[in-house]
């Protein structure tokens, strides 16, 4: 592992660090000021813990002697950690970055680790501390962020990942894949152990965390964080992203089938801090183009979709094709069935998984267009309600998923 070798090379640092209570990996392209702000926030973590910071960049001045009494002790370890959303950054490098943080945490005997990977509109002082403290003070195993939402950002998470994970694993977690996360020793050890057993093929450091925590009855809480700064979404070239994000979620789903098929309903997890609402005045999408993409896909991908979707769904899609663009609307129940059927086809390896997931893109754009039209003028709470309705549709549709999963007979309605 990279970090292992880093620690070996940097004997001086390692000796200085010895053991750490907490390891914090700062991933991504942070300006020095940003790293310093994160360090300032970490200083305020209660209990004066020893915190090792892994970051690929110049070390800010983290002199412990100048810190106020009772502050956390920080140790900076330069590490070539990957950038989660760097353009062209491969998935493997992102996975390796998280994995490195886990390995380093284990080596340093840390009680937990955090990954700071996002630029957040709000200053980090509070949320970074809140991400860390539950691991040390409250025996929490997974601390996930609850980002304030802009209506058209993070939609892949809002429309699929979050409600899907909630429906499957029964935990109302709004950003199950972080990327800013706090992870207990118990959980990262499980992740590392599982990775060993699965030969590294099945465990994904982001997609597997929440399911693993839920299926192991580990304690999960979420921290209300400000709005995350997302890279701009290229709606017309989203298929690779869709495939990249959904694949590990669906892989995990297969592994955890005995767990999620037993879970009914959902419960909220403990929330730390107050919900943060941000203005919804900004942002727009080209609904017309999204609908056109759906219509094009509907005409050209019928052959693939007919392998995946049952006739009733195909019939509904055909009806949508006949609608004039201004009346176009894909309802949540239909969308949820589509997601579930793609998850099933992924499990059954009906066609190449990559092709399968990419072929879902026009359907996703169809739903996103309906959603965009619906919430164009919505405020922050209306947005919460809208996504809550979607999440409930996922929960209502779960019996459909379970029945199709258990008896994947193509002779279905």
């Amino acid at each position: 592992m990279e970090t292992d070798s880093i620690l070996k090379q940097d004997q001086e640092n390692k000796q200085e660090i010895g053991n750490a209570d907490l390891v914090v990996g700062i991933l991504g392209e942070f300006e020095p000021d940003g790293v310093a702000a994160v360090c300032d926030a970490l200083r305020t973590v209660s209990g004066s813990p020893r915190i090792a910071i892994l970051h690929d960049g110049p070390a800010p001045n983290v002199s412990n002697s100048a810190a106020p009494e009772g502050s956390a002790s920080l140790f900076f370890v330069p590490s070539p950690l990957a950038t989660p959303e760097a353009p062209g950054g491969s998935l493997l490098s992102v996975m390796a970055a998280y994995q490195s943080v886990f390995v380093a945490s284990e080596k340093l005997g840390a009680r937990g680790c955090c990954v700071i990977a996002s630029q957040i509109e709000a200053p980090p002082l509070q949320w970074v501390r809140q991400l860390a403290e539950p691991l040390l003070d409250r025996d929490v195993d997974l601390v996930v962020p609850h980002y304030a939402r802009h209506k058209f950002e993070g939609l892949l998470n809002g429309s699929i990942i979050s409600p899907f994970v909630r429906s499957l694993y029964g935990k109302r977690i709004y950003n199950p894949m972080g990327p800013d996360l706090g992870i207990s020793r118990r959980l990262f050890s499980k992740m590392l152990g599982a990775e060993l057993r699965a030969g590294g093929g099945g465990i994904h450091p982001l997609a597997s965390l929440a399911p693993m925590a839920a299926c192991s009855n580990l304690e999960v809480c979420e921290v209300h964080v400000g709005a995350r700064v997302y890279p701009p979404t290229d709606w017309m070239n989203i298929s690779s992203l869709l495939a990249r994000v959904l694949d590990p979620v669906f892989v995990d789903m297969e592994r955890n089938a005995p767990c999620w098929q037993r879970i009914r309903g959902s419960v909220p997890v403990t929330a730390i801090g107050e919900p943060i609402f941000v203005s919804q005045d900004t942002g727009s999408v080209d609904i017309q183009r999204m609908v056109e993409s759906f219509q094009l896909g509907n005409r050209e991908l019928q052959e693939i979709w007919s392998l995946v979707l049952p006739p009733a769904t195909l019939f509904e899609l055909r009806k949508l094709l006949r609608l004039p663009p201004e009346q176009f609307h894909m309802d949540d129940a239909l969308w949820v069935r589509i997601v579930y059927d793609f998850a099933l086809a992924h499990r059954l390896r009906t066609i190449s998984r990559d092709h399968l997931l990419k072929s879902m893109t026009p359907l996703y754009l169809g739903w996103a267009a309906s959603y965009a039209r619906e919430i164009q003028t919505a405020g922050a709470l209306a947005l919460v309600q809208r996504l809550e309705r979607l999440a409930l549709a996922y929960e209502s549709g779960k019996p459909y998923l379970v029945s199709r999963w258990r008896w994947p007979d193509r002779f279905s309605p």
Binding site: P268, F277, A380, Q385, S403
Partner: protein, 1105 residues
């Protein structure tokens, strides 16, 4: 010492495993030599993974002369060259582990081949030497006489003479398989070395063959001896010391109680086959009786927590009948082996599908039992596709033929010339590889292979099958087998019909009351279990797996939880009506609050959003007055008037407890928590509303002004100090809200706001200030909303003097009627009653009869008073005035035409609804409804023809509009008339329009009819035998009261133009309104109270159309 881990993470992996037994030789040939091999097996690993099996059990693959299918091993440490090399085995092992499959191999510990170097050395070595002692020798055949001969078909003794050693050697099986001598410690050491060899390589499990026969002692059966257990414990100890997550499976074909010791105290074998269960499953199926199964399970002792039974339907050996009684064996031979060639030793050498005549449902049923019984299921290769056998091959070779992969040459097993195959493939038309093969079944979604794959996947989802307890149910129908598997919170009910015909079954599941069975294959919810027997109907050979799910408590949604979060009120109302707090109020709190209010008119529609369109702060109470627009999923939005108040601190908890529906949202103001709630529940707010009227205060709102307008009688009605009056809230809230001030005033808040003056306030003010009519509550003032733009003012609230009364007219009338019916019940129906049941208008032209006076009595006086007061009201409303809203106008032919068309449309709509609902009506009214429906044409024609548009010479005036007994108050011997709002469902413009006074008259006549029949229904509910006798009495009451009402109405209103001058026109116009009112009632009852629908139906039938 570090233990070498196995490939499984869970030490108890074998409890959840699905084991697949295969012979390398029979599975796949990779090098075209006609014999299956490891490389061929590796090629088909994806197939096995796809099938879902988790552990592969390989039959012996070691070097061997192959005189007993490999169970005669000549080298324990190597691979038979026909199957490949040790490297090939390692590659196979890695491929299995990569797919998260475990591997079990054979450890044939009881005997070796006579070709094994150990035996060759032993026969050459002198007696007593360590080499000779590897086996059991004797100079005679007389030792161990108590041991039975197992292979009775081929062996005559357990001893065979060796001419080289010049001694007999001991063998429990074939004579070429000499038994090892476990009294010799070197043998144990050698076997341990063999074990370590394979376990070091990564093998996960060892099947110990013929384990009961390891040690021999004279005077015993030489089976299951204590010394054998000592050996097994030694082997286990060595495994546990050096390895983790490994498993030993004991092959001990014994009764369960004899097998039990092979588990030890969890320190011998991890698993053991349950041999006696297998034949009994087949017996139960053939006998269509669950008893053989439940009997053998009952005889099965408990085993240590870490141990497990191995279950199978078929395997590489014969269907062994050693563990059955002689009678049972005879039955099984007759049932399952018609051809003697099917039998071998003490068993039947057949595969699963041929045993059950290739019946798919039987195959599925047996597999469902295998997969749901307590233990680890073991599948035999080929049975997942329903492969057949070849009884013409010797020994048990008939069930060991090549795997049938496809319809190509040699079944796709090998590309060798057919003659080179180790065994011929099956080729007959039913079982042959062209009909039964993997490829065909993979392409057939309904194939047995796909069914097996789904079932295996399903079983793997539930740990209860591998780890749970079993409890059999005892339904009276023995053809049905039912049992409950339980593991922790998981509970599964399994039901199987062993019969070839459909079977009913009642299960006693009362101890599971409240749980919901969910069929596991399709996730279909069944009815919840109660105290009653749970009845199921089972199709032939069907089975059900039902997951028993406990009831779950609903958890609030995120939106609901967000709604429970407090609104920020730090800066008072400004904080509430701004930003996120306002959005939360509009998005979450108000949509949740409004449907809970009785005054909210939009209950049948889905709220899609709300918006506070205007608001103002009340300076004294600190409350607010808000106007909220409600949007719906269909139809126009509505605006509601909502006084708001905030209560902070402990008082708010009292409010939450006593009036939870009044709470809109929690608030927090400067860290003090409290509640935002309906202002009506705050006395200070209520008193300030009164002050606004009394003082004529103007309040600026965003879109206009709220203005208090006292009437001339406010001071008199309110008394000297209206601010000191005690506030109460009305209890019988309907579409409005009432606030009572002491015993002097009542303030009516008009919740739903429409543009225009409210007709109740308008009429109240007019009658109070401009007429001498006194039989209404005195109008004391109102709060009006004057829009900024040119719009009509609206009425927000109306204040009236409170009238002391004895209840409303309806309540009083019904009480009178109860007494009347009670008195009439014992009386015979008078002979001359028919004359009393004529048209009330005609009856009104003559004095009330003696019969009516004698029986209806005092109520006639009340009806007379009511008729007079109604006429006086109409006279007041018809008096000349310059106010255009009240000035009377003639009813023109055009007005009449519009009226008739309106009534026809209404009638047509009601008939349509009645037609739709008639089949839902109670039986006793269906005929009446049909009679009414048959009058549809007549009624519609009646509307068109009865009143040709001509000059009726009558007036159109403002009327009450929704007149009935519930709208009058009984005040001593008189009545006060209330509520001039009109029919709530109608538009404000309609309610303020001028109409014929006869509409009110018809309303009251229908109300008499309603009171009579409602009382009759109520009375005869308790005394159903009286209904036929009492109905004429009820009709007498109705007709008498109606006639008396009309009598005084006519007398009082005579000559004022309230009725057409022509008597016939009066009658026709009145009938028109009566039909319309009855149809209005019919529609209401169809929607709300089908049990009462008889009343308006009878009303329609009674009209002379």
């Amino acid at each position: 010492m570090t233990k070498r881990p196995g490939s499984a993470a869970d030490p108890l992996w074998y409890k959840d495993a699905i084991i697949y037994e295969l012979h390398v030789r029979a599975f796949k040939d990779s090098n075209a030599d006609g014999i299956g091999d490891f490389q061929g097996l590796v090629q088909e690993m994806d197939y096995l993974q796809n099938l879902g099996v988790t552990c592969l059990w390989l039959l012996p693959f070691f070097p061997s002369p192959l005189r007993d299918d490999g169970y005669d091993i000549s080298d324990y440490m190597n691979v038979h060259p026909s199957y490949g090399t040790l490297e090939d085995f390692r590659a196979f092992l890695a491929a299995a582990h990569e797919r998260e499959m475990q591997v079990m191999i054979e450890l044939v510990v009881n005997h070796t081949s006579d070709q094994h170097p150990w035996f060759q050395a032993a026969r050459q070595a002198p007696p007593g030497s360590p080499e000779r002692d590897f086996y059991v020798w004797s100079d005679t055949e007389e030792k161990y006489k108590g041991a039975r001969i197992i292979f009775s078909d081929t062996e005559r003794s357990n001893w065979t003479w060796d001419p080289v050693a010049k001694q007999y050697y001991w063998h429990r099986f074939f004579s070429h398989q000499p038994d090892l001598n476990y009294d010799n410690p070197r043998v144990v050491e050698e076997i341990l070395r063999v074990m370590r060899h394979w376990l070091d390589m990564g093998v996960d499990a060892l099947r110990m063959d013929a384990i009961p026969y390891l040690v021999e002692r004279d005077g015993t059966s030489c089976e299951n001896l204590p010394e054998t257990h000592v050996v097994i414990k030694t082997l286990r100890r060595e495994i546990d010391a050096g390895f983790s997550n490994r498993m030993i499976l004991a092959e001990a074909n014994q009764w369960p109680s004899d097998v039990r010791p092979y588990f030890g105290e969890g320190d011998e074998c991890h698993m053991a086959f349950h041999f006696p269960l297998m034949p009994r499953i087949f017996m139960a199926l053939r006998q269509e009786d669950r008893l053989p199964i439940t009997d053998i399970i009952a005889q099965t002792p408990a085993i240590p927590e870490t141990c497990q039974w191995g279950l199978f339907l078929r395997n590489h050996d014969e269907l062994t009948l050693e563990m059955v009684t002689n009678d049972e064996r005879d039955y099984m031979y007759l049932a399952y082996s018609a051809d003697p060639r099917m039998r071998i030793n003490l068993g039947i050498r057949r595969r699963l599908a041929p045993l059950v005549d290739n019946n798919r449902r039987r195959i599925e049923l047996l597999n469902s039992l295998l997969l749901s019984f307590p233990g680890t299921p073991i599948l035999y290769y080929g049975d997942e596709i329903g492969m057949g056998d070849n009884i013409y091959l010797g020994d048990r070779h008939g069930v060991r033929t090549p795997m049938q992969w496809n319809a190509d040459r040699n079944a796709g097993f090998s590309t060798a010339t057919p003659a080179r195959l180790y065994s011929p493939v099956i080729m007959d038309p039913v079982w042959g590889y062209e009909a039964v093969n993997v490829e065909a079944q993979q392409g057939d979604p309904s194939s047995l292979l796909n069914w097996m794959r789904n079932m295996i996947a399903l079983r793997k989802l539930f740990a209860v099958f591998g780890r749970g307890s079993i409890e059999f149910l005892d339904p009276s129908n023995r053809k049905v087998l039912a049992y409950i598997r339980k593991y922790g919170e998981e509970q599964v009910l399994c039901v199987a019909n062993l019969s070839r015909f459909a079977q009913p079954v009642d299960l006693d599941l009362s101890k599971l009351e409240g749980t919901t069975p969910v069929e596991m294959l399709g996730y279909v919810e069944f009815p919840r279990i109660g105290q009653q027997p749970y009845r199921l109907t089972m199709a032939p050979y069907s089975f059900l797996w039902l997951e028993l799910q406990p009831r779950i408590e609903p958890v609030p949604t995120s939106a609901e939880l967000a709604g429970q979060a407090p609104l920020n009120a730090t800066r008072g109302w400004e904080s509430v009506f701004e930003g996120v707090s306002r959005e939360r109020l509009e998005t979450l709190n108000l949509p949740a609050f409004l449907p809970k209010q009785r005054w909210f008119a939009g209950k049948t529609r889905q709220i899609t959003g709300t918006r506070v369109v205007d608001w103002a702060i009340l300076t004294v109470s600190g409350s607010a007055l808000a106007f909220v627009e409600v949007q719906f999923d269909s139809g126009a939005p509505e605006i509601y008037f909502l006084p708001l108040a905030m209560t902070l601190g402990e008082t708010s908890e009292e409010l939450r407890r006593t009036s939870p529906n009044a709470v809109i949202a929690p608030v927090v103001s400067e860290k003090i928590p409290g509640l935002l709630h309906d202002g009506v529940f705050d006395d200070k707010t209520c008193l300030e509303l009164l002050s606004i009227i009394g003082s004529g205060i103007d309040i600026q709102v965003q879109h206009g002004r709220l203005r208090g307008v006292p009437s001339e009688v406010f001071s008199k009605a309110a008394g000297a100090d209206h601010k000191a009056l005690q506030v109460h809230r009305g209890s019988a809230e309907q579409s409005n809200t009432s606030i009572l001030y002491g015993d002097r005033l009542i303030l009516k808040l008009f919740r739903r706001q429409e543009p225009g003056v409210n007709p109740d306030a308008e009429a109240g003010r007019y009658l109070t200030e401009h007429t001498s009519f006194t039989q209404i509550p005195p109008f004391a003032g109102s709060i009006e909303l004057q829009p900024v733009a040119d719009g009509e003012p609206g009425t927000v609230a109306m204040l009236q003097g409170l009238v002391l009364n004895e209840g409303d007219g309806w309540k009083w009338t019904v009480e009178e009627l109860n007494r009347y019916l009670e008195a009439c019940a014992p009386l015979p129906v008078p002979e001359n009653l028919g004359a009393e049941l004529g048209d009330p208008l005609e009856l009104s032209e003559r004095p009330a009869s003696h019969l009516a006076r004698d029986h209806v009595g005092i109520y006639l006086d009340s009806a007379a008073t009511l008729g007079r007061r109604t006429a006086e009201l109409h006279l007041a409303l018809a008096s000349p005035t310059k106010d255009p809203a009240f000035a009377p106008e003639p009813l023109t032919p055009k007005d009449l035409e519009i009226l008739v068309e309106d009534l026809r449309q209404h009638a047509s709509q009601v008939f349509d609804v009645l037609k739709d609902r008639v089949s839902w009506l109670p039986d006793e009214v269906v005929e009446i409804a049909a009679a009414v429906l048959s009058r549809r044409r007549r009624v519609l024609d009646y509307f068109r023809t009865t009143l040709n548009p001509h000059d009726l010479r009558t007036l159109r005036i403002r009327i009450h509009g929704d007149y009935h007994l519930g709208q009058v108050l009984k005040v001593k011997t008189d009545f006060v008339i209330l509520d001039f709002e009109g029919e709530p469902a109608r538009s404000l413009a309609y309610r303020r329009s001028k109409q014929s006074a006869l509409k009110d008259v018809a309303g009251m006549l229908r109300s008499f009819s309603y009171a009579a029949y409602a009382s009759l229904i109520n009375y005869t509910t308790r005394h159903p035998e009286d209904i036929a006798r009492l109905e004429p009495w009820a009709q007498l009451w109705e007709h008498s009261a109606s006639a008396q009402f009309l009598r005084t109405y006519n007398e009082t209103a005579q000559g004022a133009g309230l009725m057409p001058s022509d008597r016939a026109d009066t009658r026709r116009l009145l009938d028109l309104f009566l039909v319309d009112k009855a149809l209005y009632e019919l529609l209401y009852e169809l929607n709300a109270r089908p049990a009462w629908v008889r009343i308006p139906l009878m009303g329609i039938l009674s009209l002379p159309l």
